[in-house]
């Protein structure tokens, strides 16, 4: 391989890979219409294989060239309609493509690969059909060679071709608007002009420039093959002729001869070839993309990341009074953001690139297992970061294979079950909440839970008692256990016991989540949720003990702040752990400061010790607080925590304060500290300080937060405590500082808006606030109902109902809770318009309101027309 620029080889590999990937799809296409193959598809395949072969000659990759050549020969027969494709033939060709692919993966050693077996399979179809080589044509070409040309031929090497080009320079200049010098330079790029002869009409150039045609005949040596001479930029009136000494290899004759027949001695149409240079692809269609090295992109990405940091620093530093500098900073801000986004986009690739592979996978597996399976993909154009996409390919392939192998039943089984004979697999990708969701659904037999259980017991992965405690969903998740394979006979496709756990690990490594749903006899759905990119993530910056940490927003559910007495009351103690009752779900609490101070995995003693200490601390603080408040001294007690989610579990992380959100550039952890599970990386904040990014799953593990199973149990205990009668209603509880507590059904609430009372405008008796650019009527409950006057606050809440006739909102001075409540509605004790009934919630008499009826009391005019 000496003497060849490695970057050229790299390019060859990349290009060949691209061609071969495209070809696979075309084969599948072809298979659908065996009787009437689409000539364009066949042509595309032919061109692709041909290009691979062509470049091989140049690099001396003989094995690849040999195989590609045989394939090409067969393809040329298909192209010319001499042969009709059969399923077996396509199998052979696909096997060829596979082998080519694997040889290209290790191109330097490709010559050591034995291609004869696959080649033989392909060649079988060629010899079968008794193709008569049209020798006479080859002969004709041969006989025309004169001595001079023979001499020229001796000057070309193997893999190169000699052409005789005759062109009328005068016409050529008019048509192409290029000078002869340009022609020569263009040709020189493609090959070498061995000799040339200029015939000028006038004969004597000294008199004047001759008016007649100027003819130029030249001998041109190039690697461009006869059927690719489109690439030589010469016009329609010119003739290109291939001069060939003898057929290069015996079995190439069919293709070459036909190629010669088609394209040599043939007036070429310039329109296609002009300006195309040597790029074969552009003849087929303009290609707007450019191949760029990934490491270059990575570097660009890193630089953009640094620019973001500089920008952030500038934003902090800027002098707000100076309007010129402010304008510049603003522009810098905008440009940086756009630059960063654009660079991010360069790394994005459509998921279709991965999806398209599965057509082939499904076809092969289906064939092998004698099943009928179709695959449908949606959202092929959804884009993902290149790194994620690459890592995703393997787990996805595994899932799809599993679906084919274990999921979809055989045709007979499907018939028996009353399903359509053809099973189907759906792949669906879509964006949601800044994440990519991928759904893999098959309508197969689903997961047999009892068999799964047996298997788990048999392999002693879990005990019977443990299994008994699991919910159905948790049982399904057992398939992610390492070392489990439910299929009796291990096939070579899947079921080697290194299955779903590997899939799960690789998805989780990408910061993604996988979950499974299955209905026995109906099918299985796997849901993957993945981040768009790994490099830049939105995150929440929090502070603990004067240190800052970043929490990825993906893991963030909500933020809760407790004040004064709530700090003391609401954080309760269950066993050795602090918990908070968040809308009737028990939320285990973790104190980040304690977690940071304790490098050991939390065990019961540590947890107990922490809980006790803080219970005491809280008491002391609350005492101080009360004392201070009694003495009218300002003393605030507040506790912030973030509700974080890991899979389906949640926990509260207690922090000192919340600083805000920031888009951070993720840098991986240093090798020496990579093993610390609680961090997922580090980042440089706007002010230049380094902050660590918390790994929420790691935190949960370190603090041994109870997961789904235990959590359910605790919840059940609570649920059991609440009388399990009557219907459950999702309610928003609120109050007006008076004795009364009110509730509205969540279904009727659009949202709740914070309202500063100084923003309220008055027109006569009516109050209005501008919300979403719309003047919204504020309805005070005391207007409509006989209730006590509320205490005025500077900041109140406006409950905006759904489906309002006119924009209005109900004023509340405090929100109590949102949650599911068992409602035992009493419709008699408090009877008024606008009130559905009363009930006791949270030990308070609560009036369940009907917003629309309240509006009707406050603004009867709105409802006149309809009455």
């Amino acid at each position: 391989m000496s003497g060849i620029d490695p970057s050229l080889v790299y390019e060859f590999v990349e290009e060949s890979r691209e061609h071969l990937t495209a070809v696979e799809d075309d084969f599948i296409q072809l298979e659908k219409s065996l009787d009437a193959p689409d000539p364009e598809t066949v042509n595309r395949i032919f061109r692709a294989v041909h290009t691979v072969k062509g470049s091989c000659g140049f690099f001396n990759f003989t094995a690849i060239g040999q195989l590609a050549h045989t394939m090409e020969t067969l393809l040329s027969l298909l192209r010319d309609g001499d042969l009709l494709p059969t399923s077996d033939m396509l199998d052979a060709l696909l096997a060829g493509v596979d082998l080519l692919n694997s040889m290209i993966d290790d191109v330097d050693r490709s010559n050591e690969v034995d291609v004869s077996k696959v080649e033989g399979r392909v060649a079988e179809y060629i010899s079968k059909d008794d193709i008569v080589v049209p020798l006479n044509q080859v002969g004709n070409t041969k006989s025309e060679i004169n001595d001079f040309e023979q001499e020229m031929l001796e000057r070309i090497k193997k893999g190169e071709y000699l052409y005789e080009i005759e062109l009328n320079l005068t016409n050529w200049e008019q048509e192409s608007h290029k000078s002869p010098v340009q022609l020569v330079s263009e040709l020189s790029k493609l090959g070498e002009i061995l000799d040339g002869e200029l015939t000028v009409a006038g004969g004597d150039l000294r008199d004047k420039i001759p008016e007649g045609d100027t003819l130029y005949r030249l001998y041109f040596k190039t690697v461009i093959e006869p059927d690719m001479i489109d690439a030589i930029p010469v016009s329609s009136t010119n003739t290109i002729r291939l001069i060939e000494s003898e057929p290069v290899e015996a079995d190439i004759i069919t293709s070459t001869a036909q190629v010669i027949d088609e394209s040599v001695e043939y007036n070429k149409n310039l329109e296609q070839a002009e300006g195309s240079g040597s790029d074969v692809k552009s003849a087929a269609g303009v290609n707007e993309s450019l191949r760029v090295r990934v490491d270059l992109l990575n570097e660009l990405m890193m630089l953009a990341g640094e620019l973001v940091l500089v920008r952030n620093q500038q934003l902090l530093q800027q002098d707000r009074a100076d309007s010129t500098s402010r304008a510049i900073t603003q522009r810098l801000d905008i440009v940086t953001t756009e630059l960063q986004e654009t660079i991010m986009r360069t790394r994005m690739q459509p998921i279709g690139n991965v999806f398209s592979k599965f057509t082939r996978v499904v076809r092969d597996v289906a064939k092998k297992l004698d099943k009928q399976i179709s695959i449908v993909t949606f959202g092929d154009d959804v884009e993902l970061d290149k790194n994620i996409l690459e890592t995703l390919a393997d787990p996805l392939t595994h899932i799809v294979r599993n679906s084919c192998d274990h999921g979809i039943e055989t045709t007979a089984e499907r018939k028996k079950a009353g399903k359509s004979e053809k099973g189907s697999i759906h792949l669906n990708a879509y964006h949601e909440g800044g994440q990519i969701n991928i759904q893999i659904y098959d309508d197969g037999r689903g997961i047999n839970i009892s068999r799964l259980k047996e298997k788990v017991l048999e392999k002693e992965l879990k005990t019977e008692a443990e299994l008994a405690r699991l919910s159905e969903k948790e049982l399904l998740e057992l398939i992610f256990l390492p070392g489990l394979s439910t299929v009796e006979n291990v096939s070579d496709l899947s079921g080697r016991g290194v299955g779903m756990d590997v899939v799960k690990t690789s998805i989780e490594r990408l910061g993604g989540i996988i979950d499974i749903e299955s209905a026995e006899g109906k099918g299985t759905t796997l849901n993957l949720r993945l981040p768009l990119t790994l490099a830049i993530i939105p995150s929440l910056i929090v502070k603990v003990d004067n240190e800052r940490f970043a929490i990825p927003q993906v893991n963030l559910e909500e933020l809760v702040c407790l004040y004064d007495k709530d700090v003391q009351d609401k954080i309760e103690c269950v066993g050795n752990r602090e918990v908070y009752r968040l809308r009737d779900h028990l939320l285990p609490m973790v104190r980040l400061s304690e977690l940071m101070a304790q490098p050991q995995l939390f065990d019961d003693t540590i947890k107990g010790e922490i809980t006790q200490r803080h219970q005491k601390l809280q008491e002391v603080e609350w005492c101080n607080c009360r004392e201070a408040q009694e003495n009218k001294k300002p003393y605030y007690l507040a506790l912030n925590f973030a509700v974080l989610k890991v899979g389906a579990s949640r926990f509260g992380l207690i922090i000192d304060s919340i600083l805000g959100t920031e888009e951070i550039v993720v840098k991986p952890m240093h090798r020496a500290v990579k093993d610390l599970g609680i961090y997922s990386g580090a980042t440089v904040l706007g002010d230049g300080a380094v902050a660590l990014i918390l790994d929420v799953l790691g935190l949960a593990r370190h603090a041994t937060v109870p997961f789904e199973g235990t959590r359910k149990k605790e919840e059940n205990e609570i649920d059991a405590g609440i009388a399990n009668k009557d219907e459950k209603k999702s309610l928003l509880l609120f109050g007006n500082e008076g004795e009364e507590q009110f509730a509205v059904e969540m279904g009727e609430v659009k949202r709740v808006e914070r309202l500063e009372m100084n923003r309220v405008e008055r027109i006569g008796q009516r109050e209005f606030a501008t919300i979403d650019g719309v003047s919204t009527r504020i309805i005070r409950l005391e207007e409509c109902l006989q209730i006590s006057e509320p205490v005025g606050r500077e900041e109140m809440f406006l409950i905006l109902p759904k489906n309002a006739k006119q924009p209005y909102g109900i004023l509340a001075s405090k929100l109590v809770d949102i949650g599911e409540f068992e409602v035992d509605l009493n419709t008699e004790s408090f009877c008024a318009k606008g009130v559905v009934g009363s009930t006791i919630l949270r030990e308070h008499m609560t009036l369940l309101l009907e917003p629309d009826a309240l509006a009707q009391i406050a603004e009867p005019e709105w409802y006149f027309e309809t009455v």
């Binding site: 240190e547 020496a672 610390l676 609680i678 961090y679 980042t683 902050a691």
Partner: protein, 169 residues
Amino acid sequence: MMTTGIKTIEETKNRENGKLVQLATFRIAGRLLGVDILDVKEVCDNISITPIHHASQKICGYMNIRGQILLVVDLRTEFGFDERAVDEKSKVVVFKDTVDEPFGILVDSVENVADVFDGQITDRRDTEVDGEVDSELLEKRMAKNDLCKGVCPLVDELVLILNSKAVLE
């Protein structure tokens, strides 16, 4: 930069004591240590370190150098000295990427560059050191973790040569 080893060079030139090695020297708890200058990328002051909780004791934390995140290692505890707060003389000696992933060590102060010949450096990792002299005590401790590549006498002091590749092991 001034070289303290000038005299040594002259002495040894005649002895043809092998290749010239330049040592970047610095002090930790008063002891003079050195590393091959070719392993050093830069020396950096203006130290502001973000601690990494749960990491081993010698890991001081992360630091930002022009947008790059650098792991800072404090060898004091590893050498058996007490911890000490960063002051204005403290510096971070940053190693090149060829040594390991980007990291630096926190030192009390940096000294000069010493030119020595590799023949002057004695590798005593395999020999028993008495441990009576102060520097030998440290050498012994360092030897436990393969941290000491050898010792080399300068004009008036012995320099312990730090095996930078072993720092993070």
